[in-house]
Amino acid sequence: MGSKVKKIDYKAISKTLVAVIIVVVIVIAIGGIYAYLSSQHSSTPMPTTSSTSTSVTSTTTTSSVLNTSNPQALMQLVGLSTAPSTPVTITVWNSYSTSENQAFNETLAQFEQAFPWIHVQVTYGVGVGTSQFETAAKAGQAPIVYRDTSDSGGALFAAGLVLNLSQYLPQSVTSLYVPTAIKDWELNSSLYGLPDNVNYIVMFYNKKFVPYPPNTTEQLVQIAESVNKTYHVWGIAYGAGDEYGYRFAAWFAGFEGQIFATNNGKVVPSLNSTAMVNALNFWYNLTYNLKVNYLAPSTGAGGAEGQLFVANQTAIIFDGPWDLNAYLQALGPNLGAAPLPLVSQTGLRAAPFIGSTGFLIASPQASGATQLQIKAALIFVLYFTNYQADLRLWEVAHDIPANLQAYNEALSQLKEGMLKPTYLNQIMEGILEQAQYGQQFPNIPQMAYYWNSFHQYASEFFANKINSTQAVQGMEQAFIQALVQNGLMSALIPLPILPPFQYVLALISVILTPMVVVISPKKRW
């Protein structure tokens, strides 16, 4: 009896197995066929809606001075003579911090007064560079306006999710912004967003430990060592091992490196260089040999770096002005800010990315916006990057203005020492000075594949798993691989659509071997 039952059970289980295998096969087959069929449809190029936009720009009066604070002028700029009779709703994803939102809300109130026919639906607290936007865009539910960083905005633009503003606005609007800032928003000579502030990292130091801001890396090392000896705190807290290459790019540049090079008119990575080796070794030396740098596991005011800095446990960190408030609160007049030092070896400045945040408008496929909504959105982004709006951000949150007029106003405020408390003037001066020694933040889509390639090998290097030469070779190779995989570089070996025979065989055997093990009758567990 017992053996009989067992046999029946065994049969049943293998039937189940067969069913499962069949289901898996069917699933894969259907998926494949479906993918194939639908690609046949979708591969026919869709007429881009932007090209049918009946050249709105032609009606714009290329007036000598653009006044983006004037409602009437703004409407004219986008080709509206009078306010539409029916109200228009635009959705906005806002990525401002709490303090920046004070400024935003004030501007919003004024905006709604000036344009009673535009109703703004704001989603607060969205992150920048979020995949949320992409997923929403895929579902056709992206917001009409999104505030993002220039580099991830560039990726969105490359993906076709963001409107090409050059087709809607005259070239002259670019003159309204700080040149470095507006340059961040141009890709293939198309404008895809308007900046509201500029950002980059600077060197924050604690005046309690640091007598003067180091101007060269030699001084930096000296100060770090003496701080370490005298006060028994870290000279520097820089988590080079937890780096994705945003901050490290500054040192890389200081050691005379470049992320991209052009080869036959094509953009190729150039991480495999002595500059990268030197930059890596420089920080390795500070961390492991001199033991004055704390290899922090997390960055920013909330991370280990910031927390140590706030707790007077480290003298120097590298961070952006977005964390200024946290440090200001904790250190008060002891807080100092200065540009990153000169790299003594090369005589070049460590040059951080000068990035920018700003507003972009989703393409109609992504958001389902009508022409009128897009016009309203254009008005919105122009208004929220105008002089008053940007100055407000500066005054409330000390954002570095991207609006030229506001930027100049900020500079003159600093010169006159108008900021309160007074020591803030010096700090802000230090921060603004850094802008002179920056590098342009690449916003080409290739850039998206830099971060992880760098991170993987830099972290292995700082974990002592590989040496610096291996690290730079590795990151370059990984970078190239990522580009190839994403179709941004041609592959050395072209990848065929149908795989070589041996691969199919390998794949099938990988899947089937365990199944054979399963099917073969074995003793009960």
């Binding site: 069913a19 499962v20 911090s97 949320q132 997923t135 140590l308 707790a311 977005w322």
Partner: protein, 293 residues
């Protein structure tokens, strides 16, 4: 005599070791929670405590709690979000219970065609990782205009229910069919008997399913965030807490004391619920051991 002495000694040794292990493990489980607790009563937004002495706070600050209960963020507030979370988690719990028990009932009592294949299939499709299904789910739910609570409840329910359905099946196996049969003869429909008799008799499983469904929803962040992001007033406590503590917006520095305070507010009811229902839980899980060989 020697024997008894030896036995006594062995017993004492056994108990001593047991207590030692229990005390160490208890310390291990409580320590991080204690840490959260202490952090929530500090006014330093740090996560890394810089001195061991910080573990015994000299001052107790209620600033974090005050902030959570008084601040209005983007038109929402933490109490509102807690309420939302409770509604959402409660509904998910109820629906999970119904779904799990109905499925368990069908597997146990009814002559479902291709039961074995179906059960195996149901079990195996859940192997597909959540991280990979997030995007397709979002697209699907967007298409059906379900990026709201209803959609969320639908999305949360099966995760708990499938696991619970298997336990429910075992539990219902051990309930004699005559209980519901007599109820049906006494005037209930099959579904009525299921609701009033089977569910009551399988109460431990009901409680367990409800608990798991509730806590899963109550604590989820990723799905709720992608579904509810544009509607601040509909946010759940988890989303709200991330924002309140400034953990999501890279433009603000995280305030870990607020985060900890929120964790305490959210965690205490949940822990109470777990402790209260621990007996039900053990009884529900013991069904697993009752499986026939």
């Amino acid at each position: 005599m020697m024997q008894i002495k030896k036995y006594r000694l062995f017993k004492i040794l056994r108990l001593v070791i047991s207590y030692a292990v229990l005390i160490i493990m208890a310390a291990f489980s409580i320590f991080p929670l204690y840490y959260v607790f202490v952090t929530s009563f500090s006014n330093a937004p740090n996560l890394i405590s810089l001195a061991v002495s910080d573990l015994l706070p000299k001052h107790i600050y209620f600033t974090a709690y005050e902030y959570l209960f008084t601040t209005n963020l983007y038109g929402g507030s933490f109490p509102l979000w807690i309420r939302n979370s409770l509604i959402l988690a409660g509904s998910t719990a109820i629906i999970s219970v119904l779904l799990a028990l109905i499925t368990g009932y069908a597997l146990s009592r009814l002559n479902v065609p291709a039961k074995k294949i179906l059960a195996t299939f149901i079990y195996i499709v859940t192997f597909f990782p959540y991280t990979a299904s997030a995007v397709p789910l979002y697209l699907l739910f967007a298409k059906f205009h379900l990026l709201n609570y209803i959609g969320l409840i639908l999305a949360y329910t099966p995760g708990t229910s499938i696991f619970a359905a298997f336990i429910a099946k075992l539990s219902i196996d051990s309930i004699p069919a005559s209980y519901e049969e007599i109820a049906m003869i006494d005037g209930l429909s099959r579904f009525g008997a299921f609701l009033r008799i089977v569910m009551r008799l399988a109460l431990p499983v009901v409680a367990l399913t409800a608990l798991l469904g509730f806590s899963g929803t109550y604590l989820d962040f990723a799905l709720a965030y992608s579904f509810l992001l544009p509607n601040v007033k509909e946010w759940t406590a988890t989303i709200g807490l991330y924002y309140m503590a400034g953990l999501l917006n890279q433009a603000s520095a995280p305030a870990y004391n607020i985060f900890a305070a929120g964790a305490v507010i959210m965690g205490i009811p949940l822990m109470a619920l777990f402790i209260v229902s621990q007996r039900m839980m053990t009884r529900a899980y013991s069904n697993l051991a009752g499986v026939k060989q």
